[in-house]
Symmetry: C3
Subunit: 264 residues, 3 copies
């Protein structure tokens, strides 16, 4: 896999990443997309989401502060993205914590052909139908082998599944990648998961092998996280340094530090 | 009062703090809760707030960018919190500036058993029925003695009242604490008040003496603010250092620096 | 033009800047207003916007994440601002990208007497009726001379037009100012445009010559951007330093660095 080539494509093509996302990390999501070299746009009014998607190169849906109205906009935009054949990335934030989240995530998966479904272990576990516990937006527990859960769900839903955690699992039901980049400090700041999804959106906009795109995105994201940690004594500084590193990410660091393994 | 013990309890138990809050500081509120060692979750859809509250350990309500709809969600969540007997913390942002804010804050206080009511002097003054002026979300003037206002309102409403300012006043109508920690730079950045409320939420989740919990929270918050000031030449750096300090806050600093006085 | 005098007036009078803005940069907008010495308030509920505007000194409208509902609140607040004779500043974020944005910006311009209309080249181009392309919230292309477009639109609409870009153009249809302050790093972080509008709001609140106020605001904003760049190696640090500089901005830097030219 040539991660550097995908990253260079982003910086060259500056794909437009349309987000319908949550109000907590909406700024971070926009900022990280721009930092990686793509263009973010946030638009959620029913009256404009289809038109905005029609000029976009990828659609990122994130249910972190969902409402019934917002989900309607997501479905409208998602259907437009499907017609245009651009990737749709769904971040299933908080699935399992409330029925609304679980049901609405499933509704999106029924109504829209999602390309990449991302979540932590208990969010994906819940969508895969295995016993799981989500505490707010945190994974508490999942019954079963995560790799098998990812593979099975990917096969059933015919999409790429991304389970984030200490090690990220990426599978399209056939191939399985493990990404070991990242740093524990990333889990101490809010927004890491949402930003990772937005970065996956940027990579998927220029690389149609979505398993590859997701793995490459998470590796770059994690490398920036590792580089930032070297310079940071606590979380405030860490967040700042993380943005510094993601913006400055270069070939040398990526080639030296990337830890993606194809295990299947 | 053993502040350190309460802080350690938070880090151990990682209570879930459900927020229905404003769109300005929602990210800061989530981040500060995580920085102090608890888990934040932001959820405001009517269809899910009760279920989210039912797995939470405290509920933080903040009317900074209220709408009529959002208040309905707050009341639903608040009633659930009352049934579950978890603390409800209300930040009365902007009360006095518009009738909507004043009336809706009162409506919440009527419908929900609020545990801790927090505001600046003119917000609390307005709710206590004394002549006050709020300019947007800033306290301009209040007629009367703040300590007496806090005590009286606490007695009338049967809750803990927190008036923030250069010196914070905390009273349950019987005991009165004054917290003198903090730094003037805190008033130069947006979000300080909202974050303080979220931190109070984390402390109240593990310490049921709410006057104690609020005082301890404000002291920790203020100490981090003092430590950050030593290293900052302006507000951008200050905000970053503040998050560094709150995450790294330790026993030594707290015991040396805490300035809480029980005056009654 | 005495920029320093206007800035000092802001710090002295602390005008209240009422925003109805977008969910992406709402925190940045509030924070920059406070950093420059004014007071921000964000309030969008139909039931309170008129009352909030009635105690404000300027009204900033930003359609970055508009909904039909939000536009109704903007029109209500705008009409109140007109009655009170306080300046209304409109940031036409994303006009040209979707019909909703274009039509709603025009609707505001019809219903409300806007004092200052700001946008990038393609947003203003679209409102001026010349062939333009907006990609999300980015200017792609405009047919025609930007200075002439600004002048003509200013004359037709009887307001001050601000076109931001590498060089900012400010015109009331008669006078034309060019502001050359700024740094390319400002275009690499999200929120720069929105924050510039909020700062214009603070300047317009105390200086009724809106062409002057806008030029002075953009110059100060740009100078802070230049000062921050000297100390920053990447965008994370840059944003932090930018807030440091805008808070610390002084007479010496402004007088030495300001690059405003009156070309007409």
């Amino acid at each position: 896999m040539n991660i550097v080539e995908i990253l260079e494509k982003i910086k060259e093509q500056k794909p437009l990443i349309h987000h319908i996302t949550n109000w907590v990390t909406i700024y971070d999501c926009a900022n990280i997309v721009r930092a990686i070299g793509a263009l973010p746009v946030m638009a959620h009014a029913k009256e404009e989401v289809e038109q905005m998607t029609s000029i976009a190169n990828a659609l990122v849906l994130n249910i972190g502060t969902l409402t019934v109205d917002l989900i309607e906009s997501m479905v409208l935009a998602g259907k437009k993205a499907n017609k245009k054949n651009i990737p749709v990335i769904l971040d299933s934030v908080g699935v399992g914590a409330t029925d609304l989240r679980t049901n609405k995530a499933k509704e999106i998966l029924e109504e829209v052909k999602v390309s990449i479904l991302k979540g932590n272990s208990s969010e994906i576990g819940t969508l895969a139908g295995v016993e799981s516990e989500t505490k707010g937006v945190e994974a508490m527990s999942v019954k079963g082998n995560l790799i098998e859960i990812a593979e099975k769900l990917a096969n059933n839903r015919k999409l790429t599944v991304v389970i984030t955690g200490e090690e990220d699992i990426i599978s399209n039901g056939e191939d399985v990648y493990i990404c070991k980049n990242g740093h524990w400090m990333m889990s101490k700041i809010v927004g890491t998961g949402c930003m990772a999804t937005s970065v996956i959106g940027a990579f998927a906009a220029v690389e149609r092998n979505y398993t590859l795109a997701s793995s490459a995105a998470l590796s770059c994201f994690g490398i920036a996280g590792e580089l930032a940690a070297e310079k940071s004594k606590s979380i405030g500084t860490y967040k700042v340094n993380f943005f510094d590193e993601i913006f400055n990410l270069d070939k040398v660091s990526i080639e030296k530090m990337q830890k993606i393994e194809k295990i299947k």
